[in-house]
Symmetry: D2
Subunit: 337 residues, 4 copies
């Protein structure tokens, strides 16, 4: 039984990690850290937590002795602690953005702060297992992808690999409000959020450069992505509608076959009809559908931003890093409604 720590345990991603790990057969949460809620128990912060309710939240990760640490914190919070964790032999899955971009320069440009762990940045593996699973297996440090990049990259990677991605690609994303985090904010204030669709992130959402970097790793360096996220009045779930530039006529059947073939060995990607978000709720699944519109195939991808777009994918990465079955603890059912 591997021992795990959850840092940022009082946030939504941290809560989801604790929730999912309570049913993991091979990983046990033994430490939980929350700067803002230190001293309380997990049960006080997350009353729905059951198995781990009595763990007392620590103020920091000093001296914890675990096999893997999940860092579910905001930008800039992983870099100060990752070196120490790695030095102590702890594998790290960072759910924040500190290790997702390929260079300290790009990180400084996008996040407006210098990168303070340039030593380990090069070894960080971008943890999208369906695309980079082989690298994840041997990694000490994994950068868990953002929710939007996960949905987008799974949806366009097969086209990129087939040489059918001719730019630019329009990615119109619709996300629930849990993506804004547990801290109340104007854009997620219910009276403001419940009755509208809010496009945001112009002129450049931080997940845009992350997508571009990942596309570069896939060899599609020169495909521009026009990415606009929208907050819709949902709590969980992301649907990306992706408009790839047409490349030689609509052939939905051929495209669907391309996707099915690409993902036939992937236990968490489902290719089929137009998806519903509840199917993905609480799971590590991403549902993909290719639909012709005029002579343009449009790709839809759906996932739970806290599941495959966050905590569940982090567990998938940890499974690979620890040599466990990739699907361990991740076969919980989704919902019909």
């Amino acid at each position: 039984m591997a021992k795990a720590a959850v840092l940022g345990a009082s946030g939504y991603l941290g809560g989801e990690l604790i929730r999912l790990l309570s049913y993991h057969p091979d990983i046990d949460v033994t430490e939980a850290v929350s700067r803002s809620q230190a001293g309380k128990t997990v049960g006080e912060v997350s009353p729905s937590a059951e198995q781990y309710s009595d763990i007392v939240l620590r103020a920091n990760s000093d001296g914890i002795d675990v096999d893997v640490a999940f860092l579910a914190q905001g930008a800039g919070e992983a870099m100060p602690v990752v070196p120490s964790l790695l030095e102590r032999g702890i594998r790290v899955v960072d759910l924040g953005p500190d290790y997702r971009l390929p260079s300290a320069e790009e990180y400084a440009r996008v996040y407006g702060r210098p990168h303070i762990d340039v030593e380990h940045l090069p070894e960080a593996v971008y943890g999208l297992p369906e695309l980079f699973g082989d690298q994840v297996k041997g990694a000490r440090l994994v950068a868990n992808p953002g929710c939007y990049p996960t949905a987008t990259l799974l949806a366009i990677a097969p086209l990129a690999a087939a040489g059918e991605l001719h730019g630019p690609v329009v990615v119109d994303a619709k996300s629930g409000t849990s993506g804004t985090g547990a801290l109340p904010s104007a854009s997620a204030h219910h009276p403001e959020a419940a009755l509208t669709v809010l496009p945001y992130g112009m002129p450049e959402h931080r997940h845009g450069p992350e997508m571009a970097a990942a596309l570069g790793r896939l060899g599609a360096h020169h495909v521009p992505i026009v990415f606009v996220p929208h907050v819709v009045p949902l709590v969980r779930g992301i649907l990306c509608s992706i408009y790839a530039a047409p490349g030689g006529g609509a052939d939905a059947a051929r495209w669907t076959a391309l996707y099915q073939h690409r993902y036939e060995a992937s236990p968490f990607v489902r290719v089929g009809g137009v998806p519903r978000l509840p199917w993905a709720q609480g799971t590590n699944r991403c549902y993909i559908s290719v639909q012709p519109v005029g002579n343009v195939p449009v790709v839809f991808s759906a996932l739970d931003n806290l599941g495959k777009g966050g905590a569940a994918q982090a567990i998938q990465n940890a499974n690979l890093m620890l040599g466990l079955d990739e699907t361990a603890g991740l076969s919980l059912p989704g919902f019909g409604v």
Copy 2:
């Protein structure tokens, strides 16, 4: 054309006052005050405002010269300015709670702060025009009722007057999130509010003593009210479900007739079937329905917490105070959906 000032113009009630007054034939907004947004224009704070977009928000009400001031602020914010406004001959409609309770002692007990304008507290009229309209007409200072008391009192006053109110009365209220105000808060954070029903205000919501005081004014001193508000995933609207203790057998027809008779001269109260909240949205209407359940008649009342439960009723009060038609500016249509 009467001149009006709106204090608290950047809040939801303030915004609704400006919205409604933009269509008022006899009252013109000439001043708007917002401590937090002073210096901006109304249009910058409320992009949907049209007519009054160019008014620059003032930091306070010093020196304003108007006929009526609407105070749309929180507890404790009216008392410091009301004496000066009255002294300058300005009529005041206070949408906050400072002048709703009958004594400084009760105010101090309920709101946890001393009342600092005991001089004017006795002359304040409780501005529920359907019940106390005659007093409103001559008033300089009107305490606009809370949203829950408005819905509750309109629904039980006919029973109280008929001597059919045998205690205790259970008031189970369901409110949209706009009642929490424009400031982001944990209870109105979309991910927390959108998927649940949240009872709150135990053991005593502040609107309970307000209801009790108003019942006292109606001569029903000894009817205890068990009041529990719930936040439901709506933005606007309150539905109160009111369970009056049975007093001699169910007779829905007789009760409905009692209500219809009581409100036949009231332009803003509608007695009929089970109401839908959109009917009341943006209006000064309260919809009331009496339905038998077993041998107990249950009363439902529905209104817009920012309309009849707030800004629209404040305008109704101002109309009466200024000698205008009670319905002036208040005939905007509700919605089917």
Copy 3:
């Protein structure tokens, strides 16, 4: 491994049964029946179903050979098939209302049709395991309670047992729309349901007599219940706010202790603070909180109408009937958000 059939497999309760049973260690779904969707596969009807996707839906239950049948159908649909199922040695959990009421006369009055299986009606056990678990263990035929009665009875049984239930009891229930079933209807049409709170079921909802009958079994024959359900804009979940007549002064601590003691051995009932509905989603848990309001304790109970209020409780009953661990397959985690 016990073999199970799900009748009504294309409805919401049927879909939830299949979802939950896909993770049950000791029960395997081998047959699924849907009159309206016969010939399709489970996967075509419920794309999120995984393990059982390839089962072909049968038009009826003729000739099925299973250990237990879950009947997830509407009123009147169980009675015609239960005799045959029992005769073939199949245990039956009926999620519909046909066997919930204590007499054929009461059934005919409430459901407006004669009961056609008076032979087996007397042996049906009312399957609320926390109250009647001993009877469930030996039963061939269990009537799974309605969603509202489950939430209400768990919340008031401790008071009834303690002799502290003095009538009448007001039950104001708030339910999500999935309770209306999978068939589109006016009251669950999104434009009608999303922006209001709809009280319904006046003058007598069918679950009222069911509650009264169960109270009778508990010895509280003469406690009248004033029950009004409301549809709120949620999909899953019920919150009941229960106002028990005051019986000698508010003592929240004593009441909470009473509840905690009553349910300390119940794995699925949690007594504590004010609950949130996501905690219960997809689970067999019921969360109960006692809160003082004035001198009246108010009881809140929260559950998932398709979980503890439906499919999950049906599995709990089947576990007991089959001699399995009561919690088998029912330890899936709820949600924080």
Copy 4:
């Protein structure tokens, strides 16, 4: 005072017409027609209607004597009655699709039925007053545009006119559920609609050819539109996110100036920051914003599908046809929240 008839008075568009016309100073509803609800009063069907509550719904339009008829019905329902209405000198605003497409052949292809009023089809004016207002003024028969085409065409017409529309244009639309109409349906069933975003209309939504035809009238014949509508969990409102192919570098300021200049004389189009849908609720306004994303300007347009996207625009057209002030009855305020 012009006399008006509303056909389809029991639907959502019909209800909105009656609602809005109750505040129109120069048009009076004197007749209302509803095949399905004939014999009932308007008030029975639309309890929030006030002024027109007592009008008895007629089964058809035979013999009505009005100045203008609003046809708020589905595809195929206008063609049979328009000839008779025109013959009797009644002006017609058709809110359905029967007269929107430029030829009977195109109509037959898109709607799957032959056009049966080819005589009047050529004279029908496409009633988007901001683009074709001069033609509307003299028209007897106006085809009121669809909700999506209204939002899309207002957003791209300035680019088309400036020769800056280089194809293809991606239109990703998000609509509330009221667009599906008053009849309950699977896609608007609350449990299905409330927790997801549903793309639909593939491979070709009927509003696509309508947009193409209108673009043709604007001289932009060869700009392909890739249009995908999505149902989001809102009741009212449409947000279109429009991705125009880049044409020479991002210059948000220049584009905004282009739009502001184009619509400076249009009382119902507002060009500015990112809009919120409540601003448009119940109004005839369309809010447009141009935002740079990378080097691509993205255009957002927001309106109420029952307002500017339906009933309010129909009234705007009728105002022009009857020689009234274009804004008569259409200055109701939108909402902040």
